[in-house]
Symmetry: C2
Subunit: 149 residues, 2 copies
């Protein structure tokens, strides 16, 4: 996670549960750009984020998927754009296929699949140590200024 | 939160991020049965669960909604059944309507809307201090023994 390609969102004032490197109660995710519009994070979920013992809580899985989507947009449209115009999740759909284990290296992957004038459309997944997809998600995001009322 | 109606999931071995009273890095949600098939939780989200400063992270909102759904099934079908046959989320869809603030009392509400031989179908919402619904969700749950492969 310390190679030159790894991105840490260490901008001042970042308190985010998902990506702040200084929020020691958060996920502290770091991100690796893989290809255009695709971002990955390698992460070992600690035991305090379990639901049943040894299994990552479904809500924390949603948080991992939500966070990788935000990072994917941010790193694709550019950090400066992101900081000027925050983005928010509009809809998030998560499909739990098989258990995700705590304490083992996971790969969380986000991908922008479409974009129009108003929305970004994303897919994301959590893959286990063996590379199999355990949880999949689709998300719709927009700029804060376009937030649905 | 301390009235006689409040339910704490204090069974031995409960490590759950959402509801364990001894997981001090978790949400430590407590639950109040409101009517048949409807459960509420009153909760003030601490700042370390923010995304943007002062706004609850979208993933933590998903965790609150996922957790209230699990508790709603558990408290509706009965604690003993739940402990014998754990339940898991199959699908969770979250719709973010307006920002959810940290540091203010929220109401998280779950409701069973249908059930068949295989699945429980639920709705949930997070309401702000003014009672307005900020985030809504639908979920599909099943017994672990019926987990999709």
């Amino acid at each position: 996670m310390s190679d030159a390609e790894t991105v840490v969102f260490d901008r001042p004032g970042n308190v985010c549960f998902g990506c702040s490197p200084t929020n020691d109660r958060g996920l502290q995710l770091q991100f690796v750009p893989v290809e255009a519009g695709v971002i990955e994070s390698r992460y070992v979920v600690p035991g305090h984020f379990a639901g049943a013992p040894g299994i990552v809580h479904g809500g924390i899985q949603a948080a991992l998927l939500d966070e990788i989507m935000g990072a994917t947009i941010s790193l694709t449209v550019g950090r400066k754009d992101f900081e000027r115009e925050p983005i928010v999740t509009v809809d998030l759909s998560v499909h739990y296929l098989r258990p995700v284990k705590t304490g083992v290296p996971l790969t969380i992957r986000g991908r922008i699949v479409d974009r129009d004038k108003e929305f970004f459309f994303l897919e994301a997944e959590i893959c286990g140590e063996d590379g199999r997809s355990c949880t999949k998600a689709e998300g719709r995001w927009k700029m804060v200024s376009h937030r649905r009322r």
